[in-house]
Symmetry: C2
């Protein structure tokens, strides 16, 4: 068995060694640029960790691990065009650096490269892996479309919002875990369990992300209140909208575009409403619930406890928890 | 064996019956819209015809045939954004009808759906089919990137241009043919031959397209001279540039942006230079050469002559030739 640090190194090494063509430059350079920007490699880590639940041969899962990382970066490339985002991981986005057309086309190439890596899987597993990957990939697109739809929707229910983030965030973690487990030789039942684990963990992670955007620790260097200022639908917003009276709903709906207010005033006004309806605590409760469900699903997988431990560690570290 | 008309009907039927989800609407509606717009279904026809060279069971090739048609339409969707094209097959492009973000994301979904169809191939052939498809798909992206690169390049050689159209047009026809032949059970040697056939046919087709844009029959309803007015690199332009003296090269380079001239004057001026260097005849010669090579490759495939005949018919009809 390998430690989580060893697995992360294996991924980084593998990604560095992928031999992308050098020409045409504008097609392939953005792929190397995106991958070199780093990130936490959560998805490929889940592929390897889930494979290691059932097998010591994690090497065999490296191409698929790289495939989900390429897929993830492909979605970021195209999302940045759609969201008009100039910065990604502290550096200019491909869209900002090379322009829209390069971002579209090199994103397409990145998606195809992901399938090329997937094609290196053991032939007898390929049909199943391809199907898991395709379903996952389509659902991620669905999540992005719902997310964009919500921008023009005045009322988004908690159920709709949860479904959207499940598609946009959980599905990719779940697909990665199932692909890794499949390569490791998991039973269908264990694939179902690891999917449940990753789905719930993804939801917990996304809800925590929503919470931290408004109530995070500014010392971590992240600006507070970005979602509020953009008027974004978040778990906090949709939960508050479902509980607030008409007067407060007006505030929730319109504060972000009130040109009379400073940014600090806007954030304070919205958070006052959130606090009035106990939204931070309700969100934390939901995060805890999802996290507990994730760990519970993990505990029932048919393998040695020692093999499960690294996934606990991964989950705790993802959520910034000690235990 | 089925006739070409029967094969075309089979494709149309199969495409109509693909069951895309209904939600989110903005993700899936453009896919149905693109496929319903028609087109000549050249690529799926090549899949089926190449399968039928070696097998009577063309049904088994229908998912892959649909996959290459979806892939082709995906490239059109994204190309239309990059080219800022408002019209496609006489109807508003997805980009014009729904906007850029929808065109990006539904294009992505279309590419993934293509892989989903490909995944329905017989498991023992899937690794090979996936590899052929991936290589093809990447090369098509490379072709589109070179095409965009050429817009900013003052000098494009005949070799560079031919390589670009081989990537942009031939590769997809060649990939379709090889996938069909693989499904039909072709030998490696015959796969090589059918690839040669489709590659040369694609080149002949693209060169003819270039020729007709400047010298076509206006009665066919296509405006003449579009490429000249856009200052596009075409086989005629790069060949003329390689043969003209400096004075004529100036005319070739700058006429399209000369605001003193009417469109008719621009077209006449460029065509006068083309005629001076015998470009139409040289292009026709090249088309004939490529077409002959295509048919020669076909003739050596190890199967009954009767099975090859429908591919001759397809090739002749593609080039608008009687024999």
């Amino acid at each position: 068995m390998q430690t989580n640090d060893q697995l992360l190194s294996a991924i980084e090494n593998y990604l560095t060694r992928i031999d992308f063509p050098s020409d045409p430059k504008l097609l392939y350079a953005p792929i190397g640029y995106s991958l070199a920007e780093g990130g936490k490699r959560l998805r490929p880590m889940l592929v390897l960790l889930s494979c290691q639940l059932f097998s010591d041969n994690v090497q065999q899962a490296l191409p698929a691990a790289a495939a989900v990382e390429l897929f993830h970066n492909f979605t970021l490339l195209h999302d940045d065009i759609m969201d008009n985002a100039a910065v990604r991981r502290g550096k200019p986005s491909v869209y900002a650096k090379w322009g829209q057309n390069v971002a579209i086309l090199s994103g397409d190439a990145m998606l195809i490269e992901a399938y090329q890596l997937l094609g290196e899987s053991a032939p007898h597993l390929l049909p199943q892996i391809l199907q898991t990957f395709n379903t996952m990939a389509l659902e991620v697109c669905e999540g992005q479309q719902y997310d964009m739809d919500f921008e023009h929707k005045s009322k988004v229910s908690v159920v709709e919002y949860t479904h959207m983030i499940e598609l946009k965030t959980s599905v990719l973690l779940a697909g990665s875990a199932v692909i890794g487990a499949t390569i490791g030789g998991a039973s269908k039942e264990d694939c179902r369990k690891i999917r449940r684990f990753a789905t719930e963990l993804g939801l917990a992670f996304q809800l925590q992300d929503d919470l931290l955007d408004s109530y995070g620790d500014q010392q971590l260097g992240k600006a507070i209140g970005g979602d509020i200022l953009e008027g974004k639908q978040t778990y906090l917003m949709v939960t508050a909208m479902s509980r607030a009276d008409e007067n407060d709903r007006e505030i929730l709906r319109n504060t972000h575009r009130d040109s009379q207010l400073s940014n600090v005033e806007k954030i304070t006004r919205i958070k006052t409403v959130y606090d009035r309806y106990d939204i931070p605590r309700l969100t934390e409760q939901q995060i805890g619930l999802r996290f507990d469900r994730a760990l519970a699903a993990l505990a029932t997988i048919s393998t040695d406890t020692a093999r499960i431990e690294p996934l606990y560690e991964f989950a705790r570290s993802l959520m910034g928890r000690k235990k």
